[in-house]
């Protein structure tokens, strides 16, 4: 076993249920975000930028788009002879009707122990795929070793105006040790939110998985963090940079719009820790003679001939002459026809809005057009 070597496990389906229509045909990890990314890119890039070379992605259902996206892992330099990216899908059993319907991370890992045992890493980072941040996990390891913790859980000080779904919060003592863990809280205001990222030794994780299996415990947060709060040293690591957690359409919209702030972009996309994603080989964006653009993020491959204001525009989008798009998210290859008028719209991949159409939502209820829809 190599000392200080870390492996990563990503749970790509975690919290799928909270995302509503966004996960209709994809995992939480493959939700498009920020003009050219999928949520899982942030977790994968954090791990890769922290020197992690063995990464397993646990999938449960709807994972075709995810496989499409990550491929062999080359975009993250994870297409390796030794280690690299490993997809850990469920496998059908003879007796069960369907494959494994795991609900928690512990349960999911019970079915993937062989992988966990096969990598010669000393530590494991467990992570969901629904958090958008740029965290150097080497700092987490440093603190983990300095405090002599058994488990280090990453949290951030967050403020919620409305209750989020599937939110776990922690209480942290002055020395950094966790004194309380609450699952599924519906609080508003300021609290310390667990980012579903935890670091622990591989040995301890295997022990916890086996123990959890024997006692019918599915969830890592409940079965390990809550149940062992006293007898294990569980410390918190505070992430202070940009953090966004997607749990539904409203937070999805807000998390995208947050990128229109330069400071937020600087925190999420520092030059020394780039965020990798699948390469599409698109032409740079092209702006027409009468285009008018303000406060917007625009990816390669777009042809913008109309007007954009406060928009996140993904790769390959076309906005026709005279069209006015405000406060909207246009995903990959969406087409907005001439003189169309959109406000507070989230158009999923391949959506077509015909010429002259008017669509309008509101901040808290953006108008969502599902993948491939034609209006």
């Amino acid at each position: 076993m190599k000392s200080n070597k870390i492996m990563g496990i990503i749970f790509s389906n975690m919290h799928d249920e909270c995302m509503g229509e966004l996960t209709g045909a994809r995992t939480a990890g493959s939700i498009p975000y920020g003009g050219r990314y999928r949520l899982i890119d942030f977790t994968l890039s954090n791990m890769v930028n922290s020197g992690i070379k063995d990464i397993g992605i646990v999938t449960r259902q709807n994972y075709q788009s995810l496989m499409d996206h990550v491929g062999s892992g080359r975009a993250w330099d994870l297409s390796r002879k030794v280690g690299g990216l490993r997809l850990l899908p469920p496998y059908a059993r003879l007796t069960g009707a369907s494959a494994d319907d795991h609900v928690g991370c512990l349960e999911a890992l019970a079915g993937r122990l062989v992988y966990l045992q096969s990598v010669d890493a000393q530590y494991v980072v467990l992570s969901g795929a629904d958090v958008i941040s740029n965290i150097d996990l080497r700092d987490v390891l440093r603190q983990h070793q300095e405090t002599g913790a058994d488990i280090t859980a990453v949290y951030a000080d967050c403020r919620r105006e409305t209750p989020g779904r599937d939110v776990s919060t922690v209480e942290v003592a002055a020395d950094g040790r966790l004194t309380d863990v609450s699952v599924n809280v519906s609080t508003t205001g300021n609290h310390k939110e667990f980012l579903n990222i935890a670091l622990l030794s591989r040995e301890l994780l295997i022990k916890m998985v086996n123990e959890g299996y024997a006692h019918g415990k599915a969830s890592f947060t409940r079965g390990v963090m809550q149940d062992h709060l006293q007898d294990l040293k569980i410390y918190g690591y505070e992430s202070t940079g940009f953090v966004a957690r997607i749990s539904g359409m409203e937070s999805y919209f807000a998390a995208n719009m947050a990128l229109l702030n330069s400071e937020a972009r600087a925190q999420l996309f520092p030059a020394e820790r780039p965020v990798f994603t699948k390469v599409r080989d698109e032409v740079p964006a092209k702006y027409g003679l009468k285009s008018k653009v303000s406060n917007s993020l625009v990816a390669d491959g777009c042809v913008i001939e109309g007007e954009l204001e406060n928009c996140i525009v993904f790769r390959g989008v076309r906005v026709g002459r005279g069209a006015v798009v405000k406060n909207s998210i246009l995903m990959q290859d969406a087409i907005v026809g001439e003189n169309a008028d959109l406000n507070y719209v989230i158009a999923d991949k391949d959506v077509v809005v015909r010429s002259g159409r008017t669509l309008c939502g509101y901040t808290s209820i953006p108008f969502y057009l599902q993948k491939g829809m034609s209006v």
Partner: protein, 403 residues
């Protein structure tokens, strides 16, 4: 053991491109950035892979570091194949001595060992300084149909331009009877595009003979082609229709970039069946701020635009600060245009910085001396201090400090 290939390509990428002056001071011409995210060599490399050629030897000599790194294992062009792929071929030492590449034909001859390993029927010779999309497989079909041993792609140019090119004089069946390099009085307007397909066995013989001739300048246009014609080898011109541009000068490089903004120019980069591949920068989408004005321009990812950009090609990671104006210009990767600066009819190379309130270049109508007007060039990494005025047509390769 390598498997036999029907055809392979050899890409001549060793030229200095001295007429690009400061732009090629540290990099070879084929590595010069083009079109917002590409480098010139992306065009022939992408043409190869799109035409079904999976083995490309890239002959480098002048300032090869950046080019070698850029090509790498050829993966961005899908050329990281098991048998074949992209190979960077610099001159090397042999037991009987060593030599720089002394001419285009000599460069190929020095690598005949590389070509022989694949035992190809045909070799495509390309150069790394042209912007165009071309299906070489159609040219190969033509080569076979005509029973040609040497086929040269030609472009129909105007009579005025013809004396700047190598001109192919052809019979009605397109067989070539004469080749004239930059003729003062051209007899035809079919200009060689520097794209050749040869039967390798035949070419190999001519290269060997030419190598032994100490008076030869070891050049395809000057030596190999005329010698083959004199010997009566069947040689045909392959007429190409479409966009093709030699970007060997500051003016032509500037024009070719501007052509991308012109919807009537027939160079479609958006065709999904003929993508131009490149090594993609890892950067977020570009941001256009409130108050920015962006019109008729191309902007790549990673940019941060707060000022005005008009009729310009802006590469990845470029910053244009508030109040800055960029017009009719090419801003290469990582360059910074500080607040209130004005850049017109200019090429600003990689990582250069134009200080606040500085001006670079000017519009032809604003020039005091119309004859002295031209595109201004700021070299790689050059810093122009705030408030400095760089005149039109200036070629700046050293920092300019303020008073």
């Amino acid at each position: 053991m390598t498997q036999k290939k029907e055809w392979i390509a050899m890409l001549l990428a060793g030229g200095q491109g001295s007429r690009l002056y400061t732009l090629t001071r540290k990099i070879a011409k084929p590595a010069v950035p083009f079109g917002g995210k590409y480098r010139i060599i992306d065009f022939p490399l992408s043409n190869c892979t799109n035409s079904g050629i999976d083995t490309v030897g890239v002959l480098t000599q002048y300032q090869p570091l950046q080019l070698n790194e850029y090509i790498g294992n050829g993966q961005p062009w899908d050329l990281d194949v098991m048998n074949g792929g992209a190979f960077v071929l610099p001159p090397y030492q042999r037991s009987s001595g060593s030599d720089w590449y002394t001419g285009t034909a000599n460069a190929i001859w020095q690598n005949s060992g590389f070509i022989d390993r694949y035992d190809p029927e045909y070799v495509v010779i390309l150069s790394g300084d042209h912007i165009y999309k071309m299906d070489y497989s159609k040219m190969l079909e033509y080569h076979k149909e005509k029973g040609s041993v040497a086929t040269i792609a030609v472009l129909n140019v105007s009579m005025e331009e013809a004396s700047r090119f190598g001109i192919m004089n052809c019979n009605p069946d397109m067989s070539v009877y004469e080749f004239e390099e930059k003729p003062a009085k051209p007899k035809s307007t079919l200009a060689s595009m520097g794209i050749y397909i040869f039967d390798w066995k035949v070419l190999r013989r001519y290269l060997e003979e030419d190598d032994a001739d100490r008076t030869s300048s070891k050049d395809f246009g000057k030596n190999i082609i005329p010698t083959m014609l004199d010997a009566g080898e069947p040689m045909f011109a392959y007429p190409f229709e479409g966009y093709w541009k030699d970007v060997g000068t500051i003016d032509s490089l500037w024009e070719a970039n501007m052509d991308l903004l012109n919807p009537t120019v027939p160079l479609d980069l958006y065709d999904p069946s003929w993508k131009i591949y490149s090594r993609n920068p890892v950067m977020p989408p570009h941001y256009i701020a409130d108050g920015a004005v962006v019109e008729n321009s191309m902007i790549a990812e990673g940019g941060d635009i707060w000022g005005q950009v008009d009729f310009s090609v802006v590469f990845s990671g470029v910053t244009v600060e508030r109040g800055a104006v960029v017009r009719d210009s090419i801003i290469m990767p990582g360059a910074v245009i500080r607040a209130g600066a004005r850049v017109e009819y200019s090429i600003v190379a990689e990582n250069a910085e134009i200080g606040a309130g500085a001006t670079v270049g000017c519009r032809p109508e604003d020039a005091q001396d119309k004859d002295a007007w031209g595109v201004a060039v700021i070299g790689e990494g050059v810093h122009i201090a705030p408030g400095v005025a760089v005149p039109a047509k200036a070629l700046v390769d050293q920092d300019i400090k303020g008073e």
